[in-house]
Symmetry: C2
Subunit: 125 residues, 2 copies
Amino acid sequence: MSKATPSIQSGTTPSPQETRSGYSANCPNRTDDIVMYDVPEPIQVTGIEAYKETWKLFFDHNAAGSDRFRLSDVQIVASDDVAYAHGLLTIGGGDAHCRLTLGLRRTDGEWKVTHEHHSIPIKLD
Amino acid sequence: MSKATPSIQSGTTPSPQETRSGYSANCPNRTDDIVMYDVPEPIQVTGIEAYKETWKLFFDHNAAGSDRFRLSDVQIVASDDVAYAHGLLTIGGGDAHCRLTLGLRRTDGEWKVTHEHHSIPIKLD
C-alpha cells in the first residue's frame, strides 16, 4: 500500500470557504469521465458536467456547511496509482443513513475520483 | 494498468454448476473481512459469514441460473494489486435497474473482493 493514500475528505466535503455555488461549479478532484451512481435516479450519471448538475440539485434542497457531511467506518485501499474507499455518511445529523464508495486513479501525481457510488438501503418491513 | 485485470464476472455470477445453496455456502473470491452495502437494509454487512447470509436471503426470493445477472456498462480500473470495477446490473430481465461497485485486492496472486456496493436508485416523482 502506498504512503500517498488519497484523502477522500478533501474531495467530498465542501470546505467552509466553498459556497454551494462554488462547489457545484468546480467539483474538484473529479475526472471528466466520472461515472456516478447517485441516491436518486437516473441509474447513472456520466461525465463531469452531468455530475456538477447533481450538486446543484442537492444544494437546492440541502443547506451547505462544513459539517454537512459526516463520514464514519471509512476504509481506504490504495496502491501507487489506483485506490478505492468506502464509508457511511450522515447528511445533516442523525444516524448514518447513506453509503459512499469512491474509486480513484492517480495521474501525474494527482489523485482524482473516476467513480462515485452513493446509496440509501431499502427499508424492510 | 496491469494485464492481470480481475474478472468481475467470475465472482458475481454463479456458474450453471453452482447451486444456490452451493454458492451461498462458498462465496468464492471474497475476503473474510468483506464490507458490503446491499440493496436492502442493514446499512452495511461486515464479514464473510454475514455476507453469506445475504445470499441465502436472496435465493429464498429469486431463482438461481446462469443468466440470472446481466452486467452492462462495465468499467474496470486496476493496478497490480488494487482494482475497482463498476457496472449496471439486470436481475431477472428488463432494463438495468441495479448498480454494482466492487473493490478488489490481489494477495499472493489471487484477486479477492474486499468491498461490494449494490443499490437501486430512488425514484423521483
